[in-house]
């Protein structure tokens, strides 16, 4: 079963000759691998490497596979890694619907078909009818849900989560965790979560790797 899901094969990342990350792991579809470590340990760097936008100051080696396909040589836009950051980062010059339409793959053709997909995506996060809203007018929790709907609308092959719950307040945080992991399970998406919050790791329920903890 090594073929299905995300396989991280011998990934090593170094900065100025000092190795900061070394990892070989398999993440099954719907499962979560949690990477923990203090800030500055290189958690986000690992995500950047897999996402395809590693800062050239780092040197990195190793490969990663999605469902058996080696994607490590592909440019970022062909890897289809859905990313969620700490901040929702909704595009401020597009409406909520515009954000989702931008994310939908171009393969979904026809105005009505695309609109219906957007409607469904918003329903999936309990925000039906919000298409025309300016993202700036949404509450923090609503923004986070639009960001989730947007990333899912692009039909990603895996999710990369960069401390996505850390800026939400406690009640909202628990809700969002459940929503995100439920969606990932529902779609069979392997998830790589980096966090320094033990509760995130507990909610994720999968394997936990700690990096950079020795210093």
């Amino acid at each position: 079963m090594k073929d299905a899901g995300l396989f991280i094969d011998g990934v090593r990342i170094a900065l100025a000759g000092r190795e900061i990350v070394s990892l070989t792991r398999h993440v099954a579809p719907g499962a979560v691998l949690t990477v923990m470590g203090p800030s500055g340990a290189g958690k986000s760097t690992l995500l950047a490497f897999i996402g395809g936008f590693l800062d050239p100051v780092f040197s990195a080696s190793g490969r990663f596979f999605i469902d058996g396909q080696d994607i490590s040589a592909l440019p970022a836009e062909e890897r289809h890694m859905g990313i969620l950051f700490q901040d929702p980062l909704l595009f401020p010059h597009m409406s909520v619907g515009g954000n989702l339409l931008f994310a939908l793959p171009a393969a979904i053709r026809g105005r009505t078909a695309r609109k219906r997909q957007v409607e469904e995506a918003l329903q999936g996060v309990d925000l039906e009818g919000m298409e025309a809203r300016d993202p700036a007018t949404l509450s923090g929790g609503q923004k986070a849900r639009v960001a989730l709907a947007r990333v899912l609308a692009a039909h990603p092959r895996a999710l990369l989560l960069d401390e996505p719950f850390s800026k939400l307040d406690a009640a909202l945080r628990q809700q969002m965790r459940e929503l995100v992991f439920a969606k990932a399970r529902e779609r069979g998406l392997p998830v790589l979560l980096v966090t320094h919050d033990e509760a995130d790791a507990a909610a994720a329920g999968g394997d936990i790797v700690t990096i950079g903890g020795t210093e």
Partner: protein, 559 residues
């Protein structure tokens, strides 16, 4: 990759015209210009140059103008920032920066002239009550032999420029923390700034200060309007020789251009000496622990100087506008006795062609400059690092070499290539001067852009150019258009490149306005100078309104 073109084009545009232009000046200076019969190298042009009357006085005037302008404007900017940074007064001044910067040098010079001339607005307002003057007094204020009004005209324009550069350098000096620290040691506001912050800021604005010295020591348009006439500053005389119908004068002009290069280099060298002296002086005070806590006078003085420099431009522009619609306006009336649009009606038909040339050159050069700047910045993102110190200094090259020194040669090359006085040649010449501003203006907003938006869009499967087109371009629309407006204003204000490359056949509102200076018809000058400042203002208005309209539905896109 397309982005690689950015640095290649930029470096080419910044260095090649200067290098080839200098070569085209050096060869005739040493007697070599086969097209005009100069087939052998000789020192004759320099021998002729040495016989020119009052050459030493002209060169000395240029040297003093360069150093004086830099010294006064930098001092005002330093003291004003020291005394007022972080206050509402400072923020209000920041908002005035763009309009002040967009006023072309020539328009600012006219503005000052219309205020301080013996029959200017100031004399009219205080006469006859305070002065008893019934007729304009017979004193030489504008064109004074010491060049004071010329330096004043330069200072009011260089103050906003250096203030802008200081503002850009300020955040890296962490002003709030440092100020709190030195204040806790008991230092006065101004002393604390000069001892604690200025040493961090100054190295970053050093090249712009050199650019001010280079510009002021070789300026032509401001000197032609406000400067002394007998003798005129060196650069003004050079342009006179260059445009002499007797083509053999070009040898003399080229030799003179090399002298100009030496004068400017000397001015910068003296400045570097002054820097050393000032550093030593600062250290002596700082290490003696001089607190200077009672700096109220300095603070008030700095504010007064800053306000005066801004007021001169705005009041002068008002005077210009007033003159353009004045009917009868006898001295010493403060306001015209009657108003009429006759000057405008008569001038407008003649303004059409210069206006079209101005707009075309300004639009083309600013648009191309912004595209090249974006390509450079995108390339830096791909490489993962900003250009090194050396490459970055190149940005200032066209601003550091006196314009006459390389434009003479560049004009010669264009003549030999048969493209003199064509629009593409004019646009290219403008581009050389607009590009530095485009790059410098765009680099901070570009680097401040949250790159996670870009990474996120890549994760959504969007290619680089789609990410640029749909995400970065609209989100940076405001700074990009603002920078384009700056480039537009720079191009509108360019005098010497237009005069030399346009060769009198392609004229802009700026060259026409300066040409009117000697004629002294205030009403017509009022029309041309008004148009000169109106075009940049229009550019800034468009740059502000267009994004506001496009993104009116999105709150986070309003600033």
């Amino acid at each position: 990759m397309l982005t690689r073109l950015g640095p290649v084009l930029a470096i080419g545009l910044l260095t090649l015209p200067v290098a080839f232009g200098l070569a085209g000046t050096v060869l005739p200076a040493f007697g070599y210009l086969p097209a005009l019969g100069g087939k052998h190298f000789s020192l004759d042009p320099f021998a002729v140059l040495a016989t020119e009357p009052a050459l030493f006085a002209s060169a000395g005037m240029s040297l003093v103008a360069g150093l004086g302008t830099a010294l006064v404007s930098l001092t005002v900017v330093m003291l004003f920032t020291a005394a007022w940074v972080g206050t509402p007064a400072f923020r209000r001044m920041e908002r005035l920066l763009s309009p002040l910067l967009s006023v072309p040098h020539a328009a600012a010079a006219f503005a000052l002239a219309f205020l301080i001339a013996p029959s200017g607005l100031v004399a009219r307002i205080v006469s006859p009550e305070l002065t008893g003057w019934q007729r304009p007094p017979d004193i030489l204020i504008v064109n004074d032999p010491m060049g004071l009004s010329m330096m004043a005209g330069l200072v009011v324009k260089e103050i906003p420029f250096l203030l802008l550069m200081t503002l850009a350098a300020l955040p890296q000096a962490r002003p709030v923390r440092t100020r709190a620290l030195v204040a806790s040691m008991g230092y006065g506001r101004v002393a604390g700034f000069v001892f604690g912050l200025w040493p961090v800021i100054y190295p970053q604005i050093r090249l712009p200060v050199f650019a001010v010295i280079a510009f002021a020591s070789s300026v032509v348009d401001v000197a032609a309007i406000l400067g002394p006439t007998a003798p005129a500053p060196l650069a003004v005389r050079l342009v006179g020789w260059m445009s002499d119908p007797d083509l053999s004068m070009r040898f003399l002009a080229s030799a003179g251009a090399l002298l100009q290069l030496v004068v400017t280099a000397l001015a910068i060298a003296i400045w570097i000496g002054l820097e050393k002296a000032a550093t030593g002086l600062r250290d002596r005070f700082a290490f003696a622990g001089v607190r200077l806590r009672c700096d109220g006078m300095v603070r008030a003085g700095a504010l007064a100087m800053m306000l005066t420099s801004a007021a001169i431009i705005f009041a002068g522009l008002a005077a210009l506008a007033l003159w353009s619609v004045a009917g009868l306006w006898p001295f010493p009336d403060a306001m015209p006795a009657s108003y009429s649009l006759r000057t405008w009606m008569r001038a407008l038909p003649q303004l059409r062609d210069p206006m079209l040339t101005t707009l075309a050159a300004a639009f083309a050069s600013s648009a191309v400059a912004v595209v090249i700047a974006i390509l450079c910045l995108a390339h830096e993102d791909r490489m993962g690092h900003a250009p090194g110190r050396w490459a970055f200094s190149l940005i200032y090259l066209p601003l550091l070499v006196p314009q006459v020194a390389f434009l003479f040669g560049l004009q010669l090359l264009f003549v030999l290539a048969g493209v003199e006085a064509t629009m593409p040649a004019l646009m290219l010449a403008h581009l050389v001067f607009v590009l530095p501003y485009a790059y410098l203006g765009l680099k901070d907003p570009w680097r401040a852009f949250d790159r996670r938006y870009d990474q996120l869009a890549a994760g959504l499967g969007k290619r680089a150019w789609l990410r640029f087109l749909h995400i970065r371009l609209p989100m940076l629309a405001r700074p990009i258009l603002a920078v384009m407006a700056v480039g537009f204003a720079v191009s509108v204000g360019l005098y010497l490149p237009t005069v030399l490359i346009g060769a009198g056949r392609l004229t802009t509102v700026t060259t026409e306005a300066v040409a009117l200076a000697s004629g002294g018809n205030r009403r017509v000058i009022g029309v041309y100078a008004f148009m000169q400042m109106f075009l940049p203002v229009l550019g800034f208005a468009v740059a502000t309104l267009v994004p506001a309209l496009i993104f009116r539905r999105f709150r986070d896109m309003q600033y």
